[in-house]
Structure formats: structure tokens, C-alpha cells
């Protein structure tokens, strides 16, 4: 029965009327509730945005205006701080360095995590549970603990101050994370698919690349999002393992502390620019977040 067709029996007429009535009543009752809901949500969003707005506000003010008094919006709008960052190679190289090691880390992590996660989700083997727990413990390892040994290790093998050093160091927590997330998604794929493919004569590598990976592509998307997130925001290891050649933007930002105090405007502009890549990434994965954020474990 479609909604557009006209009712044929008296009973149907009564039924329709009851449904419409019910709907109207529910709407009237829930309208204030709807508005309260929206109000609370708006309040939270304002809470999230306010500090970021303040950063943005400062990045468009000259240092004199910032220190001269509190202004709620930039009265003398200036882009001098952004110009300074985008024309000075010691500044913009910081962004390039950060993005370089983040991308390297994402690539390394996902390539080694995919087969490992498959093994954990499909097979039992000697020591599997202990190995999985050991992996998770690396996720918990405080970077501060590894600071000194990392410095010495990478210095010894000649990787100090390279992008590879930071990318490898971030593997400490990113590979376990990737294995953990992917394992959840892979366990959601029925095993019959694997068996059918093998019966059809697929070799393991071909099955994995042609059939399995496309099936968990949204899981891979979510995993990459998390890998990006944790590598991009980490500072302690990244700044310890680099000096000038591969310095991440986060440690370039400490330059703003000069002899004459902190250069607030430039600090704010640099901070604003670090937020942008994150927003771009979220925009691309926004449709997967809703489902995928539960890491395949609902």
C-alpha cells in the first residue's frame, strides 16, 4: 500500500487518520525537546570552536594590536604572519617535513599491519594471544620512556635527523593500533569468502589484493585516519629524533620564543596552519567515521 493511493475501505480511512493524528501529536510534543537538543549541541560546538576562533583571531592581528588590548575580532586585518611563514623556508619546511614522515609512517604501518591483522583474525597459532597483548602494550608505552634509547639507537644506525627515523619511531604505537583496528574489521568478513576464493583457484596474494582488501576498504580508510591522527599530533619523539634536516613544524614553533618575548601572531598563524591538514582529512573520511569509528567492534 503506497501513501499516495486513496483509501478504499472505511477502515483504511480511519487507520490513516489515526496515523496522521499520532504523527502530529508526537511532533507537537517533541518540538521543545528538539530545540533543547539543538541548543545543547550548539553549546558544545561553541565550546569546541571558541579557543580555535581565538587562535584564528590572533593570527590576523599585528603583534601591536594583540598586546595593545583585547579585541574580539581583528580590527586591522593583516596576513603578515602567514606571509612570514609561507615565504621563510625554515618555517614552511617544517610542514613539509611533518607531512613527509606522517605519510611514510602511514605507508609502512598499513603495509605490515594488513597481513598481520589477517593472521590474527583467521588463524590460531602458538602464542597468538600473548603476541596480541604484547602488541597492545606497545600502544601503551609512554614515548617519554623511549626517548633516550631511541635517540641513541637512531644515532648509532645513522638515521638521526631523517624522516625515516621519525616514521619508524611512530611505528611503535601506530603498527599495533593498525593491527588492532584492522583485526576488528577483518573479523567482520565471513570466512566462507576466503574459502570460496581458494576453491576457485586464487593464490593467497592474489586473493588478498583482489578480493579481501576491497572488501574492507572502509576499514582501511578508518585505519589510515587513525594513523594520520596519531603520527601528526605526536611531538615528543618527532622533535627528539630530528635537529634541522627533518624538523617537524611542532618544534619549529618553539622559535617564536625570542629575546623580546613570544611572537604571538606568528605562533597563532603557525598553529592555525597545523589544524588545516586535519580538517582536510576529516572532510574526506566524514562518511566513514559514523560507521567505522567503532573500529568494527559493535
Amino acid at each position: 500500500m503506497s501513501a499516495s493511493s486513496s483509501p478504499k475501505t472505511p477502515e483504511e480511512v480511519r487507520q490513516r487518520a489515526a496515523v496522521a493524528d499520532n504523527r502530529r501529536r508526537r511532533k507537537a510534543r517533541s518540538a521543545p525537546r528538539q530545540w533543547r537538543r539543538r541548543g545543547l549541541m550548539a553549546a558544545y560546538i561553541v565550546f569546541v570552536l571558541l579557543p580555535v576562533y581565538w587562535l584564528l583571531n590572533m593570527s590576523f592581528q599585528s603583534n601591536n594590536e594583540i598586546l595593545g588590548g583585547l579585541t574580539l575580532w581583528p580590527e586591522n586585518f593583516t596576513v603578515e604572519h602567514y606571509a612570514k611563514i609561507l615565504t621563510n623556508s625554515s618555517w614552511y619546511m617544517g610542514y613539509i617535513n611533518s607531512i613527509t614522515y606522517v605519510l611514510m609512517n602511514m605507508l609502512i604501518s598499513i603495509v605490515v599491519a594488513l597481513p598481520a591483522a589477517y593472521a590474527f583474525s583467521r588463524y590460531q597459532f602458538i602464542g597468538d594471544k600473548h603476541l596480541f597483548f604484547w602488541l597492545l602494550t606497545n600502544l601503551m608505552a609512554p614515548p617519554a620512556v623511549f626517548l633516550l634509547p631511541y635517540f641513541q639507537l637512531y644515532y648509532t644506525v645513522g638515521l638521526f635527523d631523517t624522516h625515516v627515523a621519525v616514521a619508524l619511531a611512530h611505528c611503535l604505537f601506530n603498527i599495533p593500533l593498525a593491527v588492532w583496528i584492522l583485526e576488528g574489521f577483518m573479523s567482520g568478513v565471513p570466512k566462507e569468502i576466503d574459502e570460496t576464493a581458494f576453491i576457485d583457484g586464487y593464490s593467497f596474494p592474489r586473493f588478498f589484493v583482489k578480493i579481501f582488501i576491497p572488501m574492507i576498504s572502509s576499514g582501511i580508510g578508518v585505519t589510515l585516519f587513525f594513523l594520520f591522527m596519531f603520527s601528526w599530533v605526536e611531538l615528543l619523539l618527532a622533535s627528539t629524533l630530528t635537529s634541522t634536516g627533518a624538523q617537524p613544524i611542532a618544534s619549529v614553533m618553539t622559535q617564536t620564543k625570542g629575546a623580546s618575548g613570544i611572537d604571538w601572531g606568528t605562533l597563532a598563524a603557525a598553529g592555525t596552519l597545523t589544524i588545516l591538514p586535519g580538517i582536510v582529512v576529516v572532510y574526506f573520511v566524514r562518511n566513514h567515521i559514523a560507521k567505522g569509528f567503532a573500529l568494527g567492534r559493535t
Partner: protein, 292 residues
């Protein structure tokens, strides 16, 4: 799922194992090595056994840091978990509002941690920060560099700002996986809003909440950059958490032995708590499998 017993699966794990071992096992062995020795320079070192561990465990400054750390982690969990569930429940579910809300809510998670510190440093300064300035205009002598209560409140507010989104997004995606039929059944039964939450939504959220609490506990226990930038650990040492104590000791003072011993104790505490969580998750999954 019934898993096949096959030890050849080790081959699939091997590359991952080598990489993680390189970045975890070798450094950890170095730490263990330092923790039982007194290192003067490259060639002079003495075996000290458990001396450093005893010293660290009896150090009042570190005991205080451990207590502060637990107080901090438990406080932010107590605030962020209920708040995150609440946000997840009121987030719009479709249309452009849903996309916009998702992007805005996710944003704090993707800001580098030291930038989060800088944002809040700028925001809370009494002279140029909106929050600091407003509070002073309202007549409250807000000052995070001299008043420990203000410093604590600000750090907790900052962490709530930074990380509530994680819990909210996890719960949001947990809620999205509940079939409509459940809600329809509840409507037929005339279930109250509370009953719907208690008996339909919350049980579905347990799994994601365990993940959320686990991640939040771990990260709050390692918190370093945000308070370091915002308060520098002060006033005094009232906001000096474990990571910062450790970094000061290892890099600042170059006390290799004691800081290595401290590292291991620190790691063991996290490990112990994690083990409890992990066992809980595993048992829960077992129960779920039994139920299904």
C-alpha cells in the same frame, strides 16, 4: 569465528614483528640495561642491581607525581565519558548538519598536542586571552601561573575540550549500529526515554566504551605536551605529571640509571591497568559469543 590452527600464520606476522621489535624491544632492552647500572661515561659503569628501583620507589616527588597522575586520569575519565555519551546522543543523525557536526567535533583530535597547549595558553592568558580576560573582568583573580587550583581546572578543561570528541565519536558510531526495529519495539512497549537508553543504547555502547576508556586512560597517563606548554608543570610542581618528571630527569639532568628505573616502573603501572582492561574485554567478547 572458528579459527584454523596453522602455525604458518607466523609468516604473515613476521614483517610486523621485526619492525615493532626494532622500535620497541631494542630500546626497551637499553632501558633495562641502564636501570641496573650506574653509568659515568662510555667506558665506566657499575652494576647496581635494584638500587635505582628502591631509590625511585621511595622518592617523595615521584610518589606525588604518581598520585597526581591517577587523580588527573580518573577526573578526566569521570567527566569525559558521561559527557561524550551525552554528545553522541544529541548529535544530528542526517543531512548537512550531521556532516558539519562530525567535522567540527573531530577537529580537536587532529590538532598537534603542543598546538593544543599553545591554543589554551593564548586563550587563558589574563591580558590577551578571551577566557582569562573575561574571568578577570568578572572579578575572579584567575591566574594559572600562581594558583594551582586554576592551573588544574584549566588543564582538565583543556583535556575535556581535546578528548571528549573521541568518546563522543566512538559512541556515535556505536549508536548508529542499532537497528531501527529496536526503537520501534520500544515505542510499542511505550518505553520511557530512560528505559530506551538503559536497555537498548547503553548495552550496545559497552564495547565501544571499553575501547574509549582504554584509549583515554592510556593517553591521559602519558600526557606531556599540553600541560608542558600551558603551565610548564607549575605553579611549583602542582601540574607536573609522570612524563614530564621523566623527561626532565632523563634529558635535563642526564640521570640515566634512575630515569631508566623510573621508566620501567611507569611502564609497569600502565601495563597492569591495561592488563585488567584487556582481560575484561576478552571476557566480555566471550560472553557475547555465548549469547549469540
Amino acid at each position: 569465528m572458528n579459527k584454523v590452527y596453522n602455525n604458518r600464520a607466523w609468516w604473515l606476522i613476521l614483517p610486523m614483528l621485526l619492525l615493532v621489535a626494532f622500535s620497541a624491544v631494542i630500546p626497551l632492552m637499553t632501558v633495562v640495561n641502564y636501570s641496573v647500572q650506574d653509568v659515568f661515561d662510555a667506558n665506566t659503569r657499575f652494576f647496581t642491581g635494584t638500587e635505582w628501583f628502591k631509590e625511585m620507589l621511595n622518592d617523595p616527588a615521584l610518589q606525588a607525581a604518581v598520585l597526581r597522575q591517577f587523580a588527573f586520569s580518573l577526573t578526566i575519565l569521570a567527566i569525559e565519558v558521561p559527557l561524550g555519551i551525552g554528545i553522541a546522543l544529541i548529535m544530528p543523525k542526517k543531512g548537512w548538519q550531521a556532516s558539519a557536526a562530525l567535522i567540527l567535533v573531530t577537529m580537536p583530535l587532529l590538532i598537534p598536542w603542543n598546538v593544543v597547549g599553545s591554543i589554551w595558553q593564548i586563550f587563558t592568558r589574563g591580558d590577551i586571552g578571551l577566557m582569562g580576560w573575561s574571568l578577570r573582568e568578572l572579578g575572579y583573580g584567575y591566574n594559572i601561573t600562581s594558583n594551582p587550583v586554576d592551573a588544574w581546572a584549566t588543564i582538565i578543561l583543556m583535556d575535556v575540550w581535546h578528548w571528549t570528541s573521541l568518546i563522543a565519536l566512538l559512541c556515535y558510531s556505536g549508536l548508529r549500529s542499532i537497528p531501527d526495529a529496536y526503537y520501534q519495539a520500544a515505542r510499542i512497549d511505550r518505553a520511557s526515554k530512560w528505559a530506551v537508553f538503559r536497555y537498548i543504547q547503553l548495552p550496545k555502547l559497552t564495547n565501544v566504551l571499553v575501547i574509549g576508556v582504554l584509549l583515554r586512560f592510556m593517553h591521559s597517563f602519558m600526557i606531556y605536551a599540553e600541560p608542558f606548554v600551558l603551565t610548564g608543570g607549575g605553579p611549583g610542581s602542582s601540574t607536573t605529571f609522570l612524563s614530564q618528571s621523566l623527561t626532565t630527569m632523563a634529558i635535563g639532568q642526564q640521570d640515566l640509571g634512575p630515569s631508566a628505573a623510573f621508566s620501567l616502573i611507569y611502564f609497569l603501572i600502565i601495563l597492569l591497568v591495561t592488563w585488567v582492561f584487556y582481560t575484561a574485554i576478552m571476557n566480555m567478547q566471550k560472553d557475547n559469543n555465548k549469547g549469540a
